[in-house]
């Protein structure tokens, strides 16, 4: 697949001296969904703002659909749709007018059929003649998405699309993003919600303090860094872990009702059979076994912590 976005050595130092981005390199493939994860102030929004033309870069280059974002800004911006994090709408405008305005602003001829389709897909058609100030926060967010889609972008940036929206709307948003991908739109989203990245993204990038710590296929990432936890639920609770079992990976949990064992799924010997044999030899009866894969959240937290420790 061809790369639709290439970021090379991108650096940003704000006037205050704060370095928001430190030589970031990133390449996004056409058609994929990429999730950028990071804590507050990690540089997610700065990265997006530079690509879209809201912030001037201090160094490095960005190429979108083959064009340089500064030299060929008309082409690159035409290819990009942006939904920023902050809700910013023209309160006194009608929904349909503001979407038409966006399309015109991006130099596209008026297309009522397309605008209707976008509004219907976002469940906004009923509200098309409402003034924006009459809408709820979630609806306003949808209006902003409709505006960003109005000029048929190839690359869509969603900066924290589900921040502060209710569960139902978040589900809707996921559905919408899934549907957009079917149309071939490349999507880059930033999020705090790891489950969001886990649910939707093809690839995940983790950014912290202006540095891109890693970029990986979501599945590969979860596999590579993934630990599994084996929980052995005991028939009778025990007071303490027998000395024979004691080790850094084994712990007594749930008030003596369970033994937990953390292991690496990729090790040659996972140690499961050895552990179970030992438990059997000790005469401890168990009634259930359960293994659980660690989530992206665990991986993320451990990555950010590792960096802090370093």
């Amino acid at each position: 697949m061809a790369s639709i976005l290439t970021v090379a050595g991108l650096t940003k130092v704000y006037a205050s001296g704060f370095q928001a981005l430190k030589r970031v390199d990133l390449s996004i493939e056409e058609g994929e969904i990429f999730a950028l994860l990071g804590p507050n102030g990690a540089g997610k929004t700065t990265l997006i703002s530079i690509i879209c033309g809201l912030v001037n870069p201090s160094g490095g280059s960005v190429t979108v659909a083959g064009g340089d974002i500064i030299r060929d800004y008309r082409d690159t911006r035409s290819a990009i749709g942006l939904v920023p994090q902050e809700l910013a709408t023209d309160q006194f405008e009608k929904v349909i007018d503001t979407v038409r305005f966006s399309r015109g602003l991006f130099g596209k001829r008026r297309d009522d059929a397309l605008v209707e389709k976008i509004l219907r897909d976002l469940s906004l058609w009923d509200k098309k003649d409402n003034r924006i100030r009459e809408l709820s926060g979630g609806m306003k967010r949808r209006v902003m998405i409709a505006k960003a889609l109005s000029h048929e972008p190839r690359l869509l940036f969603l900066d924290e699309p589900t921040a502060g929206v209710d569960v139902e709307l978040r589900r809707d948003m996921w559905k919408l993003i899934g549907a957009l991908r079917q149309t071939g739109v490349t999507i880059v989203l930033t999020t705090h919600y790891i489950e969001e990245a886990e649910e939707m993204a093809d690839r995940v990038g983790v950014i912290n303090r202006g540095e891109l710590l890693l970029v990986e296929e979501k599945r590969a990432l979860m596999k590579k860094l993934g630990k599994k936890t084996l929980t052995v639920t005991l028939a009778e609770p025990i007071a303490q872990l027998p000395a024979e079992l004691a080790g850094s990976a084994v712990a007594l949990k749930d008030g003596g009702h369970a033994i937990e064992y953390v292991f690496d799924t990729h090790a040659d010997r996972t140690g499961i059979s050895g552990l179970l044999r030992q438990i059997g030899d000790l005469g401890i009866a168990y009634k259930d076994l359960d293994t659980r894969q660690s989530s992206l959240e665990d991986i993320f937290v451990s990555l950010v912590h590792q960096e802090k420790a370093a």
């Binding site: 704000y14 879209c52 008309r74 911006r77 990009i80 910013a88 602003l105 991006f106 130099g107 001829r109």
Partner: protein, 256 residues
């Protein structure tokens, strides 16, 4: 995409006019009422006790100054609000991320604001006719002058809107600088009526040249030669365009 983004320019222009249309009634009623008040106070109450100024009845004499006063403030308010509001509400992200050049954005915003202040100027001109006979010696020049005034003051307002970081800053320039300068710049009197040294000092007030030039298009004579007025308005246009291009080039208060 190549060439000029005409669709984008027209989208902004129509968006801004729609904003004015929402307040059309107050937008046009206010200048009409203000003009009427000025005519009652200056034209009838005081004007009836005054002799002619430079051979023109006083009530007619104040018409050009009255139009200028309203057009100065209208232009600055409209153009500065037009760009300040998106900055304030955050909707400016869309303009910044759109394939619209700086020149196109300025043309659209300033064009819309100038359209409004030009219509206000024409409404006042029409209202004045209800009270007094206003001769116009050079009608084409008069219209051209109004157009240039509208454009240059809207450019100035646009600069103000980018510069301002609060509503107070937005109001302070028109209220504290432009308004007094207009009153002292001969909007309601000829500077020849002033004693020295005030007459010479007044010549340092740039507004004098604008009002005088506009008055020339009505009565064929002004306080200063028409060439000076023309040169001044051209200079103002150039300076404003220069400042705006510098603002966009450096991203001054627009881009971090």
């Amino acid at each position: 995409m190549s060439g000029v983004n005409w669709t984008g320019i027209s989208a902004i222009y129509r968006f801004e006019l729609a904003r004015f249309r929402r307040t059309l009634l107050t937008g046009l009623l206010v200048p009409v009422i203000t003009t009427t008040l000025y005519f009652i106070v200056f034209g009838s109450a005081i004007g009836s006790r005054m002799s002619e100024v430079d051979g023109t009845p006083y009530a007619a004499f104040i018409v050009p100054g009255l139009i200028m006063l309203s057009m100065f403030t209208e232009s600055i308010f409209n153009a500065s609000f037009g760009i300040y509001m998106p900055k304030f509400t955050g909707t400016i992200y869309e303009l910044q991320s759109a394939p619209v050049s700086a020149a196109e954005a300025v043309a659209a915003y300033v064009g819309a604001a100038a359209t409004k202040s030009l219509s206000v100027g024409l409404v006042i001109f029409a209202t004045a006719h209800l009270f007094v006979d206003v001769p116009v010696a050079h009608p084409l020049m008069m219209f051209g002058f109004m157009l240039l005034i509208a454009i240059s003051f809207c450019l100035f307002g646009f600069i103000l809107g980018i510069w301002a970081q609060s509503f107070e800053q937005l109001q302070i320039i028109p209220m504290l600088i432009i308004m007094p300068m207009t009153f002292l710049g001969g909007a309601f009197y000829s500077i020849h009526m002033l004693p020295e040294p005030w007459r010479s000092i007044t010549l340092f007030n740039p507004i004098v040249y604008l009002i005088s030039g506009f008055r020339w298009t009505f009565f064929g004579k002004g306080d200063v030669a028409i060439q000076f007025s023309m040169a001044f308005i051209a200079a103002m246009l150039l300076v404003c365009i220069g400042v705006i291009s510098w603002m966009f080039k450096t991203g001054y208060r627009l881009k971090k």
